[in-house]
Symmetry: D2
Subunit: 443 residues, 4 copies
Amino acid sequence: MKLWQKDYEIQKLVEEFTIGKDPQLDLELARFDILGSLAHTQMLTQVGLISHKNGNKLKEELKKIYREIQSGVYQIDPGVEDIHSQVELTLTDRLGEVGKMIHTARSRNDQVLLDIRLFLRHEIQQIVVLVEDLFDQLLSLSQQHQEVPLPGYTHLQVAMPSSFGLWFAAYAESLVDDLQLLQATYKVINKNPLGSAAGYGSSLPINRQLTTDLLGFESLNYNVVYAQFGRGKSEWMVSSALSSIAGTLNKLASDICLFMSQNFNFVSFPDDLTTGSSIMPHKKNPDIFELIRGKSNKIKALPNEISLVTSNLSSGYFRDLQILKENFLPSIQTLKECLRIASYALKQISVNQNILDNPIYQHLYSVEVVNQEVIKGVPFREAYQKVAKLIEEGKLPQKPKVSYTHEGSLGNLCNDQIGNAMVVVIKGFDFEKPGKALAQLLK
Amino acid sequence: MKLWQKDYEIQKLVEEFTIGKDPQLDLELARFDILGSLAHTQMLTQVGLISHKNGNKLKEELKKIYREIQSGVYQIDPGVEDIHSQVELTLTDRLGEVGKMIHTARSRNDQVLLDIRLFLRHEIQQIVVLVEDLFDQLLSLSQQHQEVPLPGYTHLQVAMPSSFGLWFAAYAESLVDDLQLLQATYKVINKNPLGSAAGYGSSLPINRQLTTDLLGFESLNYNVVYAQFGRGKSEWMVSSALSSIAGTLNKLASDICLFMSQNFNFVSFPDDLTTGSSIMPHKKNPDIFELIRGKSNKIKALPNEISLVTSNLSSGYFRDLQILKENFLPSIQTLKECLRIASYALKQISVNQNILDNPIYQHLYSVEVVNQEVIKGVPFREAYQKVAKLIEEGKLPQKPKVSYTHEGSLGNLCNDQIGNAMVVVIKGFDFEKPGKALAQLLK
Amino acid sequence: MKLWQKDYEIQKLVEEFTIGKDPQLDLELARFDILGSLAHTQMLTQVGLISHKNGNKLKEELKKIYREIQSGVYQIDPGVEDIHSQVELTLTDRLGEVGKMIHTARSRNDQVLLDIRLFLRHEIQQIVVLVEDLFDQLLSLSQQHQEVPLPGYTHLQVAMPSSFGLWFAAYAESLVDDLQLLQATYKVINKNPLGSAAGYGSSLPINRQLTTDLLGFESLNYNVVYAQFGRGKSEWMVSSALSSIAGTLNKLASDICLFMSQNFNFVSFPDDLTTGSSIMPHKKNPDIFELIRGKSNKIKALPNEISLVTSNLSSGYFRDLQILKENFLPSIQTLKECLRIASYALKQISVNQNILDNPIYQHLYSVEVVNQEVIKGVPFREAYQKVAKLIEEGKLPQKPKVSYTHEGSLGNLCNDQIGNAMVVVIKGFDFEKPGKALAQLLK
Amino acid sequence: MKLWQKDYEIQKLVEEFTIGKDPQLDLELARFDILGSLAHTQMLTQVGLISHKNGNKLKEELKKIYREIQSGVYQIDPGVEDIHSQVELTLTDRLGEVGKMIHTARSRNDQVLLDIRLFLRHEIQQIVVLVEDLFDQLLSLSQQHQEVPLPGYTHLQVAMPSSFGLWFAAYAESLVDDLQLLQATYKVINKNPLGSAAGYGSSLPINRQLTTDLLGFESLNYNVVYAQFGRGKSEWMVSSALSSIAGTLNKLASDICLFMSQNFNFVSFPDDLTTGSSIMPHKKNPDIFELIRGKSNKIKALPNEISLVTSNLSSGYFRDLQILKENFLPSIQTLKECLRIASYALKQISVNQNILDNPIYQHLYSVEVVNQEVIKGVPFREAYQKVAKLIEEGKLPQKPKVSYTHEGSLGNLCNDQIGNAMVVVIKGFDFEKPGKALAQLLK
């Protein structure tokens, strides 16, 4: 078998193989590449490596390209490898030789490091908004349905009384902890790698604190060798934090898919949120939540993929790192979609008010009876055996008056405290500073 | 083939299968189980579910068991399933019926949740100390060797000048970010799950804020259904944070294994830290760093194992969660050993002062020459092509005077700033509060 | 904080760190190490590197050690690193200098490669027997319950008629394909790596075909550099094949855990195979199947752990490979336990004969009605819409006479064909040859 | 923040979320969907569910669509969910109501199962050809360079003599074992799932053996419930087999990236296969092999992703399974590209003939000297100590005459045997049968 016909075919293959999906993926990074170049140009001007005249020219043109990107008309030309090359090319086309100056004291290594940081900072902010939206939805559903009983299961066996109030709020509180992890990764990525060049810095007299301030970073990756570690480490950390949110979505979706089964019939959704079958006319399938479940698993698989690519590699840049973008960048969009869809769908959930009418829940309150004995002074183990005997003999008393009073229980959800915890976490992000800095850069 | 001889054999098989390694693993949790029981007993006494007399008896005996555990004489008896059962058994043996009272308003579900939290809080504190020790070692080596040149590589190709100062400090700064992630997980696990019972709380009038205070937790997992999510979620989060540290160790070890090869010969260690070969008399193998590299990968594989076990499971306890302990608990000890060994070994590292004598490094300063042109006003791209031509013609000038001035570069390591960053992160843990609370409980 | 008190403590730490769990784990390999040494000694004798007199002495003593291992009295002495060193030590203790000769033309690298191959060959044979046992159990249950209706679900929504006959046999057929994969890995590991020494062979005139024959291998790993790749590759391949079986067990266990829920109540088990709750007296928890589900996930996580440890490593032995044993060897025992317990438990399963009495299954036969229309000549899509309308109007006819005739359907299970497929696969293993060879070696 | 502006936006979001990338991905499956429909139509005709007249009409039109697909003009229309719907739509557009008949006794579940099987069968055949090509390349390079010495490393420490002959052939032999695994998965997927419909078969009198024969399958997935397990199981198995090949490529690429470093300088490639640096004019980076290394890791991450998505799911179809295609289908193309590029690049490799001139290799033959003593009758351990002493004293003799004679060693590569082993494995695939069957279907 002949694997290719002519030399140019294999050359094209090699080119495609090495460039990969960068041109498409880099479009997502384009506006952040411009922001980085704006800060870099301003710094080069201030330290005297570019004249003020040239610096101003470059900045004006960069802002123009930024607007073209925002309006969707800016493209990466065929044959151009990445966004960094494309921007330099555009500048040189439009401004002549001066366009090449923006590459002074930079490498594509620290450029892409920077672009990804700015991109992640922006995306994390969006994710926080979407998580907060879902959180609000969940807490509001918890309040609304706090009195609706839900059987609690362990081992998928009917166990003890619970409520929709408890169930919805559990996922809300879970998101608080997820954001704690996301915040740590935000702090890690909110540091400036620019100036690390190819991973060993530059002998030019650049000012890294200045670009740090111009771009609104909290601090910088001081050590330039460490800054280069960021490729791979940032992606792994952020994808781990996304996986935490994905884990909460996965469990929520798993519950809902189970609860929608006719054997549970705990919750339902309007027809436009379920799917019929091409062969079974009576089906109402929970495709949306199955897809949230599946897509969250895809996200959860990501940190491991990144570990596999990067593990056992020594320090210094390797081209392997390029391919991390391929699954990482889309996974952020996937998580955002899952969050959006989950919020939208939950807004329309109906909960079954009469679940406990089913006789399989007749022993649901057995532990209550045990506890009543305990309050009377019977040691727990004895009370337990007594109730077990009552059940065996079919003599368990009817549903006793329930009175859950402790923090986080049926009768005392503590949703206000959970709400406050979320407020505290979100405050910790401080998205204002970078927002202001970038606005200033673009002025 | 007969798979088992008699009924009791299969019954034993079933028992072993279900109990698993819990008796061994639970010994690690024993002292934390007692601490939890002490707080629980005190709370039960204060809310009136146990008399003060019985409460005092129980607390005295629990403290006695704690001392037995500390001195290594306390055991889990054969046939006893876990530490929770063992402690209750001991109490009942020694105090009679009153011993059973500690199980009031508790389930083994929230007991093990609590034990793991207290255990993790303790272990994280130890890990932070070990990370700090390695960090200090690395920064001190960076200071000590800051003038020793090291070639910087990209793509494993000789690239640009670097130094041992830069190289050691890179790993130090990496550890700062790793601890940031660990701190987020610390905050997540430093919340009290006790009182969630089997995952749905208790109808007894317990006071969860009181046990939260007694055990020195920052807050509580309010929602009891969410508290149960903690099984699996805590392990996943903490193992992710451990993986971040493991990732830094992996890269450090990868570098050292490479640098010890005769083809690099950058660093060496005394004989007692290397291993000979059973067949090749001239070998000095970097087994310690290969094992750090390998063991760090084992740790990095752990979050994924936990994801696999827990993913797609609906809410509520499942027995599957029991097996998470099997690889999770030992991995914490593995990480601690790796950190300890790495610190110990690095203390004895020798660095090669004359690496650059090798002619393969003759073009190491080519970018410097490019930069000199740039400072003179030549656009970067042009300067680059000029130097490329010089190299091609063998006319590249000798090593130019290097002057790296920017933050985090060869000439300006910023190790003080890196040191400060570590101080700030470590302060954020606040290990004092739990320490005091537990000391008070045991008084 | 002082991390260790005295030098000897750290030396002990280093020793423990490097030796790891090898002494315990290697006991599992002991008998196979002896078998390898027997073959190696015989070969050395035949090529003249050991005198016949010495060869006989060595072989007699090796057989004696083999019997000591079999009877459980042979131990790895404290301070001895691995089984290979221990055996050589014993021989030298008992026979003097001649004992050292068994290391001629060998390295511990090819010794452990060989031991693992012989061990895996033996374990795979045991696994095949256990899989066959479970397969027989499943097919027999399928036959026994072939008429008992079971609702078939898609999306966990009630979908179409199925039967316990179909359900049990599905898992049987799954095991056939799993064994196909196991057989491929068996073929890969049933090749002799002995003689590759440290990975580059030996300049001594050894005869590798002879040891291949003596040990009953199908062939040899010819290329000695490739033979060394086997470390890591064998473990990965075998653990992938085990994961396939684990995947079948995971799905079976997932079904059973679901089917045991009161909301399904499809199957049940006697009390000694379920577990009660420490707090809820009415529970019958499917712990055994939850543990099978969880443990199968642990096995499924293993190939990835091995990939992480080995990926991006260049060729040649690295000490990292040593730690693969730690999770790999126990996982084989875990799979065997899961298979054994699953067979034992299924033997005692009770199936609910009256599942369809529940009104949620009233539309289960809707597709049948569609099909009846189709047989009458109505295009499928039209028939489908017609039945959908009937359901909407509550006019769907009662359960129609079912007649499934095609291969693998309700009415035509094809269990004989599935049984035959298993027979064919198992024949392909050919365990006789190695069995005879090893018996001959030990004579 | 408003998350969406209008209702139709969210409806569009839901639609995109559920359809996902199916329309793009399904184009890869299009021709196989037609082949399946051709066989299905012929079977429906033969069993009398479709008249011969209609059957012929449908088959003619299906063949026409097949040609349109082959010529690249067939498209999935906007708003059409998948290829199955698109083909039915086209048929109905062109033939009227009769077009709908191809859906008789089928579900999209068994249709996509079948399409993926036919697709995988085709792709595996292509992969085998590409693996064979790389294998031939490697063996031929081994023959060509069999006398060129290469130092063998263990622990990345200079160890023993090896050769390019050994090194190239090691990877060739590795591919033989990889294909063994691929063949097992080929056997597993070369079974017909058609007729399983939604996972529970059909009450229509279809003939599954007939479609099995028409499509050239070796056998069928008998049990219809098991056939449905194939979704997920097929992808996992095949991706495991691809991972095995990827593992070989990963190690080969790791070696080459190391060997191209100036510190090794063992191999080199022409300029069009290496990449320069944007900042360092003297670099020749091995990007192609770094990308092979990285992309092979992405493939190796895939089985785990599939496990995560499918684990803990009970039997029966779930929509989660749809997303497996997203990373699985492209990964097959990625592997093919890696194989193609590796073959192409290796064809142009230059090997350094004078590696051993470097003084770091002076002790490379120390084990030879040990062995010379052994042949003289000195016990190995003693000879070893003697040579160690010679080295210490700098008295190790010059390079002794090497004579490696055993199978697979420097002097006896056994490349013929390795070549034969590959021939045997490839014969085992039997690609002819399906090829003929499909050709017949399209006639």
